[in-house]
């Protein structure tokens, strides 16, 4: 049905969560680890000196039964397709063709990934060739897997979710690092609130265990190196501890959920996306302060910060969060930073916290993490490592 007049906004519920990260798989595993104050799971050896949060061991067969499908995906797509399946399961709509056929999907995606052996071999040959043009053409034609480009295309995570899980209402892919995650959620949220959509699958995935992405961020010295350090530590921003993760949410109108007997895990009460002029001093802190004000800071509110650990933005966000005096937890201190996937992961953790009604323990050594006790509202921030400031508000449903 064409949507109605936009004048009447309505609530948006979170009715499904799919989450897999270095801490585990599924909401319960995550909550247990968080509540126990488990130390972040990191690996500083495999890609030394870079620190990554490796994905927990996953049985992909349980969500992607066909090996042929798995072979058509690079790991970031596999992680995302897996997490999307968990979200559909959690919402109780997996394999429900009628609902999946009307489910709108927005995926926040990067792309890639490279075949590292092939790239290195070609480069070695190029450096000693006197006909590099021909060499490159011939080697790429013979060495690239024909299906590689599909496994690399940004929109093919969404494509794979359609193929494997049957989500076909609509399919959009947003790119653009952290803000892709914010805007994917914002658009899905806004469409449901404005009655342009009834149910949506939104989220993303990131594979941190790949040298091509480390290379991209190492170009401008953004990576965390030489061992894990807290995001808001004592020596300024520690660098980005990238983390493998897949995070998807099912967002739904109360009418649609109620009609099928589904209960809300939490309410998504707002998503905001901003763009500071980063070359202006103080602009990022100002935007974060404004976002907190927009979301509201009534008692029972905490902040789950999506701060990346990257220099500049991390210190600026810290300044605004410290000034707010709200209880703060850093998402990257638990599961690392997942760029496009980070915001959905943060919202998922926020939904868990408000439904449990309590904060998990602070990370020792982090100077900003503070406060304890009951929580009914969580503001999730997403300040991009280079651009884009966003936030979402998750509230408890009683």
């Amino acid at each position: 049905m064409p949507e109605q007049s936009p004048s009447t906004k309505r609530d948006v519920w979170i009715t499904g969560i799919g989450l897999v990260s270095s801490l585990g798989e599924g909401p319960q595993a995550h909550w247990q680890a968080l509540a126990a104050g488990t130390a972040p799971v990191t690996d500083a050896e495999r890609f030394a000196p870079y620190v990554v949060h490796p994905l927990v061991k996953v049985n992909y067969d349980s969500q992607i039964p066909k090996k042929g499908d798995q072979r058509q995906m690079e790991p970031w797509q596999r992680i995302g397709t897996y997490a999307a399946g968990l979200a559909l399961d959690s919402a109780g709509i997996a394999k429900n063709a009628d609902i999946l056929g009307e489910t709108d999907m927005i995926v926040a995606a990067g792309g890639g990934e490279r075949d590292f052996q092939v790239d290195a071999a070609i480069l070695n040959d190029m450096l000693v060739s006197n006909d590099t043009g021909r060499l490159l053409n011939e080697r790429l034609l013979s060495d690239l897997r024909p299906t590689l480009s599909l496994a690399q295309l940004s929109n093919l995570l969404a494509g794979n979710i359609s193929i494997v899980h049957g989500v076909t209402g609509s399919s959009r892919t947003f790119m653009g690092e952290e803000s892709a995650g914010v805007d994917a959620t914002r658009i899905a949220f806004s469409r449901i609130a404005a009655r342009q959509s009834e149910i949506a699958l939104v989220g993303g995935a990131y594979n941190a265990e790949r040298e091509d992405m480390l290379l991209l961020y190492a170009l401008n010295d953004f990576c965390m190196k030489n061992g894990f350090r807290p995001i808001f530590g004592t020596d300024g921003a520690p660098g980005i501890p990238s983390g493998s993760m897949g995070a998807f949410l099912v967002l739904e109108s109360p009418e649609h959920a109620t009609a099928r007997g589904a209960k809300p895990l939490a309410k998504l009460s707002g998503v905001w996306s901003e763009r500071a002029q980063r070359n202006v001093d103080g602009s990022v802190a100002e935007k974060v302060t404004a976002l907190l004000a927009k979301a509201g800071t009534t008692p029972g509110t905490a902040v789950f910060s999506g701060a990346t650990g990257g220099r500049g933005a991390t210190e600026a966000e810290a300044e605004a969060l410290r000034a707010s005096a709200l209880p703060v937890r850093s998402i990257a201190n638990r599961i690392g930073h997942g760029f496009e996937a980070q915001f959905a992961a943060g919202l998922a953790l926020a939904a868990l916290a408000v439904s449990e009604g309590t904060l998990f323990p602070a990370l020792p050594g982090d100077t900003l993490e503070n406060g304890n006790g009951a929580v009914s509202r969580v503001i999730v921030t997403a300040v991009g490592h280079w651009r884009g400031e966003g936030a979402g508000l998750v509230e408890r449903v009683d």
């Binding site: 064409p2 109605q4 590099t132 490159l136 480009s149 969404a158 790119m175 991209l216």
Partner: protein, 427 residues
Amino acid sequence: MAQAYTDKFGRPIVVVTGIGIVTSLGQGKADNWRRLTAGESGIHTITRFPLEGMRTTIAGTVDFLFDGRVPAPDLSQRLATLAAEEAIAEAGIGTKGNFPGPLFAAVPPVELEWPEKRALAEVVPHKPLVYHDLLDAAETGKFSAWHERFLFGSVADRLADHFGTQGQPISLSTACASGGTAIQLGVEAIRRGECDVALSLGTDGSVHPEALIRFSLLSALTTANDKPGEAARPFAKNRDGFVMAEGAAALVLESLEHATARGAKILGVLEGCGEMSDNFHRTRSSPDGKPIIGCMMNALKDAGITPGDVDYINAHGTSTPENDRMEYVGMKAVFGEEALAGIPISSNKSMIGHTLTAAGAIEAAVSLLTIANGRIPPTINYNIPDPAIPLDVVPNVARDARVNRVISNSFGFGGQNVCLVLTGEPA
């Protein structure tokens, strides 16, 4: 009076007040329109990089903007800039560096290209190198500008800076349907009342060796290299693959109320958008055509019209055997065999090739020009009709016709389909 500004569903009517186009045929809509209606092809032998060993050596590259090779995001950004400048100038909206609405940018995915990787490799002191050595090269800090340049959000971000669009720009990809999605996002935002104005664009400047080879490996490209201008043959029996191409188009979208209030000239109406994704295969359409049919039906429903209200179809028409056949199957189901025979259908890709991420935006722009000029651009290279897909493709020569309503189809790898409904005057 408020009634006049809303459609039959009570939503704000969304109009177009500015159009900009760049393709291999030229810069600006005047040039493009003249050459499209003259049936000219912009496809040529590639000169940008060595072709030895390539199966396909032709493309619709845009070669008049830079002298030498530049990274794909530089070209995509330049193409989008030119298209958006033209659209904004025509709309006469905002002030220099301050566009009063958000940016929805269909941009191609990016990554470090071979010349950049090679430059990194050259500073690695030992040989042979392994991939990890490139990270050490990155740590020298000599290449720091490439970080931003090769982020996925880079092109849209710089466009947002240049044009002063509001808020964080959205970079999106639905493969070959991306341009259509960018327009749809703008339409939805205006209908929600989030903004009065939006800048929607699609751009693609990514013909480089690996991109060409990747499509070659999927057997998606024609290898009819000898006569480049005759290689793209949508709907013809001898079609054998698409031609990669570059270009951009931008539309200034605006609520009718806002456009009227400022006395803007209205170039057309975005009456409806439809989408439906395909879960059959990564590169092939569902054999029953259900998602293509559903996508067109959803667009008609969103516009509140019936198939009988459509005067012309701006086809996806890529010139691959599979796409054109499935598009026919879909159209036949939506319109019925008899009615379909009476509707002119043409593919701009016969002349400008497949501009991939930009195609949906370029073809929406051309659809609006078709309505405004009462002239339908032809499908060129249509010399051998395919009896299995009988269509009036406006073969080879442009045709004068009164066209009030167009649907423009875009179908992407990965099963992402978008259909737009465009009309001339507000109802």
